[in-house]
């Protein structure tokens, strides 16, 4: 579960490392292009987090090199550049995901999980949390042995909560994760609330304890406590 983070902003790097390590990932740090190249040669990672703007090179080239070497790591570009062309370009050269700075750490974790899952691809993986079992690829969810019908967004929301289990997630980060550029602004937090309410109801109705803790004015926490 090793991740390589290529980021020249020390403070941001530090935050990402702390948060990901809390999640049980081991993080290797590279503050510039050449360190990154060296690290990529030495180890295999399940995921590469690559900033596009590096002091001594282009992050995009790292993505290209990784793909030319048939590196099967998941690659997430993290960049402040937020235009369609740049996104498309990033995905074209082989990145799996594109995360625009500034991002929520909880969103980063969810995406790392998702990318890591896809790269491992050892059959269908089953995620469990308490009584809940989720098969992310098949988009199915079970409580005990009973199947729970979830909408696409509810499913995404559940995966997000599971990726950030036992952590506080803010409604802003949920809105951003679920709707991307459509999230944010007023109104969408109401939608988060609505989705959360529906998901909770469906899980509880299926006989599952209420894992979703509402933390008033802060967000939500998914835990068994």
């Amino acid at each position: 579960m090793q991740i390589l983070i290529v980021e020249d902003e020390a403070s941001l790097m530090e935050s990402m490392v702390s948060y990901l390590e809390m999640e049980g990932f081991r993080c290797e740090q590279a503050a510039d292009y050449h360190t990154a190249i060296g690290s990529m040669d030495k180890h295999d990672y399940i995921c590469l987090l690559i900033d596009l703007n590096l002091p001594d090179g282009e992050g995009l080239d790292l993505v290209k090199i990784a793909r030319q070497n048939h590196d099967r790591s998941g690659i997430i570009i993290i960049s402040a550049r937020n235009t369609i062309e740049q996104r498309v370009r990033g995905l074209e050269v082989g990145a799996d995901d594109y995360l625009v700075k500034p991002f929520h750490l909880s969103e980063l974790v969810a995406r790392v999980h998702s990318v890591a899952r896809r790269t491992r691809m050892q059959g269908e993986e089953i995620l469990t949390f308490g009584m809940i079992r989720v098969m992310p690829e098949a988009r199915t969810c079970f409580v005990d042995d009973g199947k729970v019908d979830l909408t696409r967004k509810e499913h995404d929301l559940l995966l997000y909560l599971m990726a950030n289990r036992n952590r506080v997630v803010t409604k802003e980060s949920i809105a951003d994760y679920l709707w991307g550029e459509y999230g944010g602004g007023y109104g969408s937090y109401d939608f988060v609330y609505t989705h959360m309410k529906n998901l909770r109801r469906k899980l509880v109705d299926a006989g599952c304890p209420d894992y979703i803790k509402n933390m008033y004015g802060v967000g939500y926490k998914f835990s068994q406590e």
Partner: protein, 420 residues
Amino acid sequence: MKLLTKTTLYIATLSLFLFFIMGIVFFQFLKNMSLSELDRELTGIKEVVDEIFPHFLGGQLYGLPGVDSISIQPAWPGIEPGDRFGDTLMFDTKSNQFRTFRYLQFQSEHGGDLYVVKLFKSTMPADKLVERVTLMMTMMVILFLAGIFFLNKFIFANLWKDFFDALEKLKQFDTVKEPVKLGEPDIEEFMDLKKVLERMTFRLSSDYKELREYTDHTTHELQTPLAVIRTKTELLMQSKNLGLNEMQLIQSINSSADHLSRLNNTLALITRIENRQFTGRKEINLGNLLDDHLEKLHELVVIRGIQVDRIYTEKDLTFIMDQGLADVLITNLLKNAIVHNVDGGGILIEIDTDRFVICNEGAPLSFNEHELFKRFSRDIRKTGNFGLGLSLVKKICDYYGFKISYEYQQQQHRFTVVLP
């Protein structure tokens, strides 16, 4: 009015006026000259008449060279003595019409009897002369005016050439492009003009460039500290021994940083549009674009129980623009229609041959309609938005020459975008 037309008009008016005055004076002068010449001739003949008077009386003479006609009558009582000049109309048997004649009347004494003698001379030759001269004068005026006109044209085409060149270049000047470079005029004033213009446009361009770079850098540089605030607060929030109170405080810092970075992003986008940094050109089918975005916003629509109706009269309406901006345009309009809707309300989208309309139910604006497209104008009853969405929409419309208008009637907000 063009400079050339106006100049020509001024010159023409002034010269016509001067020529008119001069014409009248000259005409009178000529007329008087010819009359006094006639009078002088008649006076000369009067002396001869005195000498040969007896021949007339004897009936041996009927005419005199130099005059057209002569009449002699015995003087009547009460007639004033002395010479008198005058004009009269007489029937001319040669040309069968009445003509003007100049006459000299005087009295002559012969054999104790007093006679009144009148000498007549036709004014026709003199009139003809005046006429010819006037005609020639008029011809000269016309020639002169034509000359002035062509001279003016020539001056404008040659002397003012540098001026018009400069004007043309200035018209095409755009702060985004390079400063204006003008040719080398050989007229001092235009040389000055060239210097001033080049300096000014250089200044404009460089100021603009600097401003653009400044905004670019600022928005970019702000992102990192904002990201740090956000991630650190997120980390902090995960600390084990925090009460709900502390968490709420941290969350409000996090949320404000989040707000700030969204604001920053949007302002950066507006600035980039203003700087014309979007040059992508793609033919976009409006109907498909609207459908795509409605699909993405489907959930938001469903949650609020909003009914969306689509009337695409023109299914293949396309326009050419940057794909990213097209997305921003449509997203903001649709989001606006959803957010400012009422629960269970409706959205109507129409596409016509040259326009599209997005209509939604909702309460009237809480601020002036004219403020709608301005930055930071928003409904104060709703929190969390910046009031930048429609300002962004307007900027994009302006950029591509679309005309956007807004009206509110029957509880419906109606946005119409007319394509050029």
